[in-house]
Symmetry: C2
Amino acid sequence: MSNTINLSLEQVFDSANSALLNQGFSAKQAEAIAKTVTNAERDECHSHGLFRIPFYISALSIDGVDAHAVPVIKKDDSAIVHVDGGRGFCPLALAMGIEHLSTTAKQHGIAAMAIHNVYNIAALWPEVEELAQRGLVAFAFTAANAFVAPAGGTQPLFGTNPMAFAWPRDNQPPLVFDQASSTSARGEIQLHLRDGKRIPEGWAIDKEGNSTTDPEEALAGAQLPFGGHKGSSIALMIELLAGALIGDLFSYESSKHDKSNIGAPFGGEFLIAIEPTRCVVDRDRQNQQRRAEMLFEKILEQEGTRLPSGRRFSARLRTAEQGVTVQSDLHNKILAYAD
Amino acid sequence: MSNTINLSLEQVFDSANSALLNQGFSAKQAEAIAKTVTNAERDECHSHGLFRIPFYISALSIDGVDAHAVPVIKKDDSAIVHVDGGRGFCPLALAMGIEHLSTTAKQHGIAAMAIHNVYNIAALWPEVEELAQRGLVAFAFTAANAFVAPAGGTQPLFGTNPMAFAWPRDNQPPLVFDQASSTSARGEIQLHLRDGKRIPEGWAIDKEGNSTTDPEEALAGAQLPFGGHKGSSIALMIELLAGALIGDLFSYESSKHDKSNIGAPFGGEFLIAIEPTRCVVDRDRQNQQRRAEMLFEKILEQEGTRLPSGRRFSARLRTAEQGVTVQSDLHNKILAYAD
């Protein structure tokens, strides 16, 4: 039984920000990370909330991480924005790059952003959601440490490689999904191990490549892509987009780089943003919106369905009023970092 | 036991083209369709080969199909190319549009093409492969008739909605995948029905939403997205891209449009093409290629794996020399169309 504490979102931000500053992050790096963490707590994505602060701080011990990195943006007259993260963390590179990506997408109708040279511990939904709040359709892709076997194989090679997508909606939060290309998150297997539970069939294989329901064997073996070879193809696509295409590391290289196994993948992120009104000759955004809403209604009129991100947005309404619940142990740890 | 006949690729093209011309297609529509069908036979994708010719011809009976349609391309200074297919079939719209998409992607670094007002019975790999042969990274998305229930739901709403991706490779065919967002192709369920076999668990549900292994109940019920809610999110994304975004029909509307259930979905297709060298500041294409090949080697060094499209490209080498094997019944049917 663990004790919990209720914090307002301002308190979440302040405790995260103070901890990061006190541990040696620059004001801008700390602010960007603390915002990302606060937004995750706001949406009750605890695994990307304050829980991640110790990861960011441990990662400072990795040779090459720059807690004072100032991202550099390069932009020519093309529709591609380049951001060199300077071996800092991704949130500041994103915060600085998104304005450029958004402007470029509105100018050309479609644009892409290659963020490289960053450590990425965060989820991808914040950036696609922000792009959608600016009226854009958005995609994001990133590789990670190598935990997932390619379909048919037995050894970890791909990361849990998430892909996120967002569609802007009028007068309400965008439709957003952000999903790993593995069947389960790695953290879910770790939770099963902690709780002494078996994992479902299809999540992982052991070191010899046999299907396993033992979480310990699963963590020593390899996770499986979701949906067999189709999820494996998506994982491969993401390695190519966030790795080879933008000149950054593949998951298996990022794992080698993360020598002390801190779980802070080093590499890149690739984003695409589309200005929807440029995709129809009549530029009728109202009609695009009306029709998308028709589809969402059709989905929701079936019992048992929901729209991606629905749970996050319900949580957001709740936490704005009621604050968030945080484990006291974790909160104390973060206070100690700030002390 | 069925008889087969061996045809050269030229003979495949000629028989398809003659059948289409004789049944009333314009020379340009017929040529584009016959090329698409021939390329499928070349790669031993028989389900998209001559087997499809009767579908194209039956579709002529659908109110509104224009067998003489001349696609119209609209292009401004943005990175978005619009193609109005004029209610003809997709292959001619693609054949005319791809040059524009390719030029636009090379100019801006990234570009998109919205093809609308077309009937699409073909696979998506030919167009992404052609873009990759021009040195581009490519995506294609299209909706289809409604056969797939959204995750958690029980009624067909999404199409089998394929997504295709291609990565250009030096001195060999591109890496390509083209995959439905349903667990199985609809045709696979039909083949199980024909052969009196049960289908695997996880492919479909019956009319009441219960899991079924009976192919007849499956066809009357709904197919399932691959990988549960993750495949369902991808199906939804494709409805938005190929439907709401470009002002074209959703799968459930396309089904209503296809009153006689011919299986010729009416709607749109959305493509994205990226000039890879614009995605790295040093424009070093050699390095992008070298690194992608490193990853492909890493995949293939694991026993049991393969690269997407490997089978198609092996078939291609074989059929160029040996021709293709076609069911005599089908070949006779196509000869009769031409007579």
